[in-house]
Symmetry: C2
Amino acid sequence: MQEVADLIHHKLDELLPTPDGFQEDRLFEAMRYSTLSPGKRIRPFMCVTTASLFGVNSDYSTQAAAAIELVHAYSLIHDDLPVMDDDDFRRGQPSCHKKYDEATAILTGDALLTYAFEILSMDSTHLDPHVRVELVRVVARASGFSGLVGGQMIDLLAERKDVDYTEIVRLQRLKTGALFVTSCDAGAILGKASKNMRNALRAYANNVGLAFQITDDLLDAEGTREDTGKEVGKDAKAGKATLVSSIGVDKAREQAQILASQALDHIKIFDRRAEPLRDLAKFVVQRHS
Amino acid sequence: MQEVADLIHHKLDELLPTPDGFQEDRLFEAMRYSTLSPGKRIRPFMCVTTASLFGVNSDYSTQAAAAIELVHAYSLIHDDLPVMDDDDFRRGQPSCHKKYDEATAILTGDALLTYAFEILSMDSTHLDPHVRVELVRVVARASGFSGLVGGQMIDLLAERKDVDYTEIVRLQRLKTGALFVTSCDAGAILGKASKNMRNALRAYANNVGLAFQITDDLLDAEGTREDTGKEVGKDAKAGKATLVSSIGVDKAREQAQILASQALDHIKIFDRRAEPLRDLAKFVVQRHS
């Protein structure tokens, strides 16, 4: 994972605009600040690893993965805003609106989201325009009203009312699952995978995404800020309904294990080149940060 | 223009998600509220009219134009936020964050921007993936850090310091010009226009965009809220540097006329099918709202 994280860091560094005496340098600085801080880069890892199952040129998969990471970074910046989840820390450093200001944070998110689509449209992402346009389509779908944004809207509304387990699962499928699924799907699209293989990988990623989210909620309930690099105990303080608050810590831990093991089943059809994806399914439920 | 505005209204109505008992209905409502209010739809008009120069199927050009209008609507919603330009009215009605709340407004903008790229990637926008991916590229470029977002960042920073005429022109080229240019360019891309023709149309649109912006600043300095559907006198109140404050009302009016007449020169190469584009160049400097 560290290897892919380093590749992505370099690719992002290369792709992002550099402050150089422009009137809008503050924007470029904030784009870099929010993107180049060390992260797990799980979504890029899923994209690059899936693409490698199909022998995709790693220049292509790294670039598509970087675009997906920009979408993830944008969503964190907007979610952290005071009128949203009001988080002052992210990845162990002040969140974008604390380091800069709210207006800059909103614009930085907007710029990263938009740039992701520009990158996906470039012929350096893949020579075949069918592939590029399909990447744009799936990433847009996972990011918009039927993905990230829809999930965040439900999440905000959920703070105001009681939500049941089914509703929370739907929320998380939109808010976290969709981009996880699309990360694997992007790798499969780059590899011109068959429909069957795409479906298997999407099912795998859906389970990994939900397991990841449950672990996130467990860490918020039980972890420390030192471990997670962000404030903890926020869900409970906000009275936010999570999978953990809905079914309890023990049941949630058990559920995460089941999801991870189902994820492994989905990718049985692949040979040992899928080993990193199998490791990831185990990692997401064992992680402490 | 009214004809195109009606076409766009229907297309947007058809494309936008409909509230229907979903958890996230509030988002869908806000997307519709901000997009389906009556607007001039100048950018869609430029796209559709340019496409018709090349005999493009109007289903295609209307859909691409609708995507561009979504980008425009997103930028208005985010620009109107209290931490940005703090505008309570837009198109004669409360702006999105006044009608709903700030979090909803941020998410609504995010959703509209993202959906624009999803729409451009659909094969109902054009059968040829080369065309679709080029549309994504130019719209992303005009919307992101080297377009709308960059321009808005400069605009915010400009409130804090003195800026000269050249800097204001650059700001406006990013903030308004880029999407105007891309509106014509999208029509030309759909029509697989030659490089020469694309350049002529881009030059035309660049001039029209700047003339439009100067007129906007003049209306803010001299118009009424009844005419413009939004608050006026805000630039002066905010101490914001505009082309009008920089060179004065008379010079600005003159400059807008020169730009409009240069715009006409750029599209001399086209036959009478370009008449609506010529009318537009005259309209943008004569309008009262």
